[in-house]
Symmetry: C2
Subunit: 198 residues, 2 copies
């Protein structure tokens, strides 16, 4: 069965990809891009290093614009990020019968609650699988055991999270100061290969 | 890292065992028995067919007696089963740094909520991993793909869930009628080997 995994190049989405592959799914890693900035490149590189097929799905630019409006109004990213995440899952559900992402047990945003998951699965006729059975400690242990990981400050070039395109758009509309206030630079872990290849 | 998986011989606990093994954990399957009835035999057989090491951990008989009291008072099994389940996890946590069970996303009982998981992990210095990222549809697909499964009515001999010893004790204390009213016979799926060996 084909599984489409929403992929950023981070530990979480890399681990769920590994789990699904080991269970026998034909895994394809998918990064959704809205056409404002080519922020899929880091994810494509991580995917290639791990040997997975990687696809870029084009999202509707208005969806990102709407999310950016929400975020600017709110002054914080959670609701806007959840909107983009839900949209990305719906987009992947057009092409795959198993839709997956790296949401962990202790994640707060983006996250679907149980009712949202049931509705998403039923409306789209898909199965949704994430990392809801694992906490951050287990993810960190697994990531250290499985992957070669690079810790670095986020930049426009090394990160494929939604926040890159969102920050880009906020910068354009409202200036860099607000963009970096809402999405500060932070230390990220990016998967850049298998550990055994180090 | 060693992982102790609370094991019944059913689909769910078999799948989490397979996932953990594929991620590199040294998996041991553990069935807790309270000394009233040797209900671990079905689990031991399933484990052996899948090639996992299986252990029986002896639970404190009073814990099962207390749970049975709760269940008889309540007239339904949920609270008593949750007590036994929590106790079994604590018991396994003495021997393993990773403690696991087959609880799925859509399970209601037995289940730890997020706060109970945090408390369990912190008190015992362990990581807890379950199937919280998967729903019943995915579990059924995976089980069909991976395992040779036998569907049959539950009996005293083919089931290693807590309910066997609990039903045994309720029968002794209050008679078979109440025992089978609270825990009716039902169709169960027991893993009896790998699918490729069929």
């Amino acid at each position: 069965m084909k599984a489409g995994v929403l992929y950023s190049g981070g530990k979480d989405s890399s681990i769920i990809a590994v789990i699904l592959k080991s269970l026998g799914y034909q895994v394809e890693l998918v990064t959704v891009n809205f056409g404002f900035y080519p922020s899929w490149k880091a994810a494509a590189e991580s995917s290639s290093k791990l040997g997975f097929k990687h696809r870029i799905l084009k999202g509707e630019p208005d969806v990102l614009k709407d999310a950016v409006k929400t975020i600017i109004n709110d002054g914080f990213p959670n609701n806007g990020i959840n909107k983009v995440h839900t949209y990305a899952l719906e987009l992947i559900a057009n092409d795959y019968s198993v839709v997956s992402d790296g949401t962990r047990r202790d994640d707060k945003v983006p996250k679907l609650d149980l009712n949202q998951i049931r509705s998403f699965e039923d409306r789209n006729g898909v199965e949704y699988i994430n990392l809801g059975g694992l906490g951050h400690k287990s993810i960190n242990h697994l990531s250290n055991a499985l992957f070669h990981v690079k810790k670095e400050l986020t930049s426009m070039e090394n990160n494929s999270d939604y926040e890159i395109e969102i920050r880009f758009l906020i910068s354009k509309l409202e200036g860099e100061e607000l963009a970096f206030k809402i999405f500060p630079e932070h230390l990220q872990s990016r998967v850049i290969g298998w550990r055994e290849n180090e």
